[in-house]
């Protein structure tokens, strides 16, 4: 037998289990040599600067701390464009290194090898995202931030990172050039900036699907506190972003070198499926409507998410009246009791004086068209209902004009209580109601001179423009305030119902 006539060797077929094991090995090699870890220190620094640091200026509630970094997609902007750039670098690797021929000449379809490269890139990116967000929430937890984290928004962010990696990878695979990475990164930034800008102008409809459209995300400050975070909109965004990722990956399987005919057909089907998925999500988003607890998409809505979160309240006392808050607001209980004590002490024993005070979820609409009130009275026995979600709590308050001083908060609570107690409702109140309100505030330690500015700056408490505490209203209030406490109390006991009904005039004030 010569070398020329030796028979061709045959091999035994491979076991079916060889495929996933080889794929796992391939993935392991790609994970170890991926370029993504090199960009993570830069992303970490930007994450700290852009997502964590600004959030510390917000009150320690998840809905406020995560308004910028989750609600407005700050974490997505920190990650996405850079992930797209590095993914483009990885996608262009074979072309840049002159390995396209060599990889094509192997048995495994080139698309399969590319998907392994992409998978490693995406795993690094998404894992880093989850770790960074996890550290962020761990810090929040240590700082005692109240409420529950917006996990669905975290999932939407992770899906966004995946979509960016897929889109960037496709850019690099099709364009193995040194410019692929910067172009992909630039495209990512431009897309995110346009998404934010579109969100400023469009707070309904299809535009809600955009990843950094903040409308409706975190409008309800009680999300995660009184009611669960509604998953409707994040689910729609996850579907949208997953569709983009699938379509981008399908595109990489279309070129002739990617593999055989059937594989490329499968890639085409995948591309179309991804586009259909994204389109479906846009359609779902266009049906979204803002409810009291967040964005509702009827086709995705689960009524179970409307059920309030059960909790054990944190309670104290103010002038003998129990004051209970949601445990997320526990740190402000002393401020609340300190705020309510003097005003409750003035009215204790009067008809309609609240037997207890409790925090309730914020209401964003009122039945009679005026602005909703942070404090209302009602029920049998009368209860004081406090919607702290509508107010800026003491301490940092994000985008407001500087931190809220405790005195500022306390004064606002006293004003809101007095406003509700005199029956002024959603409006500015009758002159008599305004006068009694002013007298009560004076009795609680707020001088008349400070009251016009307080009324003008208070949230949702209509009143006259700030100016000197003069005029017939304040004159009547001064008269009432100079009465001895017993006399004042007695007058209110007789006239409270008429006061609340708006049937009194200033002349009838003592």
């Amino acid at each position: 037998m010569t070398a020329a006539t030796a028979p061709v060797r045959h091999r035994t077929p491979r076991a079916a289990s060889a495929v996933p094991l080889n794929a796992a090995r391939l993935l392991r090699v790609e994970l170890r040599r991926n370029a993504m870890p090199w960009i993570l220190p830069l992303i970490a620094a930007l994450f700290w600067f852009d997502s964590y640091r600004p959030s510390t200026g917000a009150a320690p509630l998840y809905g406020l701390r995560t308004f910028w970094n989750m609600g407005q997609g700050g974490t997505i902007i920190d990650f996405g464009p850079f992930v797209a750039g590095v993914a483009a670098w990885m996608g262009s690797r074979d072309g840049r290194r002159g390995l396209a021929d060599l990889v094509t000449a192997t048995a495994r379809p080139r698309w399969a090898a590319q998907l392994a490269t992409w998978a490693a890139t995406a795993i690094w990116a998404v894992a880093a995202y989850l770790v960074f967000v996890g550290i962020l929430f761990a810090i929040y937890a240590r700082q005692g931030v109240g409420g529950t984290p917006p996990w669905w928004w975290v999932a939407a962010g992770a899906t966004a990172v995946t979509a960016f990696s897929a889109a960037g990878f496709a850019v690099g695979a099709y364009w193995p050039s040194r410019f692929a990475a910067p172009v992909a990164t630039f495209g990512g930034f431009l897309a995110m900036m346009l998404s934010s800008q579109t969100g400023f102008r469009h707070n309904t409809g299809w535009a809600l699907i955009l990843p950094t459209n903040s409308n409706g995300n975190f409008d309800s400050q009680d999300s995660g506190i009184f009611f669960p975070w509604l998953p409707d909109l994040p689910i729609a965004r996850i579907i949208f972003l997953a569709g983009i990722a699938v379509a981008a990956l399908g595109l990489t399987g279309l070129p002739a070198r990617a593999g055989g005919q059937w594989l490329r057909r499968a890639a085409a089907v995948l591309t179309l499926a991804g586009v259909a998925l994204a389109g479906t999500a846009v359609g779902l988003a266009s049906t979204a409507r803002l409810s009291a607890h967040g964005m509702v998409i009827p086709a995705l809505h689960d009524a179970a998410n409307d059920a309030p979160i059960t909790y054990t309240p944190a309670c104290g006392h103010a002038a003998g009246v129990p004051v209970c808050l949601n445990p997320a607001y526990r740190r402000w209980l002393p401020d609340m009791t300190a705020a309510l004590t003097p005003v409750l002490a003035e009215v204790v024993g009067l008809p309609g004086t609240p037997a207890r005070a409790g925090q309730v979820a914020a209401a964003y609409t009122s039945s009679d068209g005026g602005p909703p009130q942070a404090i209302t009275l009602g029920g049998h026995p009368t209860a004081l209902r406090v919607s702290l979600g509508m107010l800026d709590m003491p301490g940092p308050c994000g985008f407001c004009d500087g931190p809220v001083a405790t005195k500022q908060f306390v004064d606002q609570i006293r004003l809101a209580f007095a406003h509700a107690f005199v029956g002024a409702g959603n409006g500015g109140g009758s002159p008599v109601q305004q006068a009694v309100q002013a007298a009560l505030l004076r009795g609680a330690g707020i001088p008349f001179a400070a009251q016009p500015k307080l009324v003008a700056t208070a949230k949702n408490v209509p009143g006259p423009a700030p100016g000197p505490a003069a005029g017939p209203v304040y004159a009547a209030a001064r008269r009432l305030a100079t009465l001895p406490a017993v006399a004042q109390h007695a007058w209110l006991a007789v006239h409270l119902a008429a006061l609340r009904a708006g049937r009194l005039t200033l002349k009838e004030l003592p």
């Binding site: 960009i39 830069l42 620094a45 930007l46 600067f49 852009d50 600004p54 910028w68 902007i77 920190d78 464009p81 850079f82 750039g85 670098w89 262009s92 072309g95 840049r96 290194r97 002159g98 390995l99 193995p176 050039s177 040194r178 410019f179 990475a181 910067p182 172009v183 990164t185 630039f186 930034f189 431009l190 900036m193 346009l194 934010s196 800008q197 579109t198 400023f200 102008r201």
Partner: protein
């Protein structure tokens, strides 16, 4: 092959270089510059810069959701300027490695010339795009912001390598966006400063000067020897 007809100099003599005319030298210089620019993919960079100019024109002409206050209106033009800076940074990458560095004295001048020329072209392209109107801050702001960004890109290329020079301008864009949103006014984030602000202009000038000096003298960082074709 034979050696007949080959002139040999006397032992110890080094033959003098052939005296070229000024025109020959100029032609050789242009040719060298052209080959250098082609090796850095500058034609593609020019096309990308023109595209960015067109994009800016479209964004301004059609008011691409440029909503909000003065700071918000800056964001999209700033993103486009950053894209231009990233493209310029990436052109510093050279495929030749040591043979090029060892070849002669012209390389630093070629690097400097290419960087300055591309920055000028980028400014021209974006200024033309800004002619669509209402460019926030006008061309003075464009010049300052673009120049500073290019400086960051050149510095990034010098430290990280030409292929990764884009990371610096992109990171700076994110920092700028955060500074604009949170009303920070340090001159080192010059896009947050008014167009005629001296501090912002000085900082941007310092950065581009540093970038040009570093890329001229040192060139982009080269991460070890690489073989195989590089795009």
């Amino acid at each position: 092959m034979t050696t007949a007809g080959l002139h040999r100099p006397a032992p110890g003599n080094v033959p003098a270089p052939a005296a070229g005319t000024r025109r020959d030298r100029a032609a050789a210089g242009w040719r060298l510059a052209r080959l250098y620019l082609v090796s850095r993919r500058v034609p593609m960079a020019l096309a990308l810069l023109a595209g960015l100019g067109a994009l800016l024109w479209a964004a301004l002409h059609w008011h691409w959701n440029i909503a909000g206050g003065a700071a918000a209106r800056q964001v999209i033009p700033l993103t486009i300027e950053t894209g231009a800076a990233a493209v310029i940074a990436v052109t510093t990458y050279g495929p030749f490695g040591e043979p090029e560095r060892a070849a002669g004295r012209w390389l630093p001048w070629l690097r400097l010339g290419a960087a300055v020329a591309l920055t000028t072209v980028a400014f021209g392209a974006l200024a033309a795009g800004a002619a669509a109107g209402a460019m926030p801050g006008g061309t003075l702001l464009l010049l300052r912001n673009l120049g500073g960004m290019v400086g960051i890109g050149l510095l990034s290329a010098a430290v990280l390598g030409g292929a990764f020079g884009w990371t610096g301008p992109m990171a700076y864009l994110l920092i700028t966006e955060g500074a604009l949103a949170h009303r920070s006014v340090t001159p080192w984030v010059w896009p947050t400063r008014p167009p005629h602000d001296r501090g912002g202009a000085i900082c941007a000038c310092l950065v581009i000067a540093a970038g040009l000096v570093l890329i001229t003298v040192h060139g982009p960082r080269e991460s070890g020897r690489e073989s195989g074709p590089a795009s």
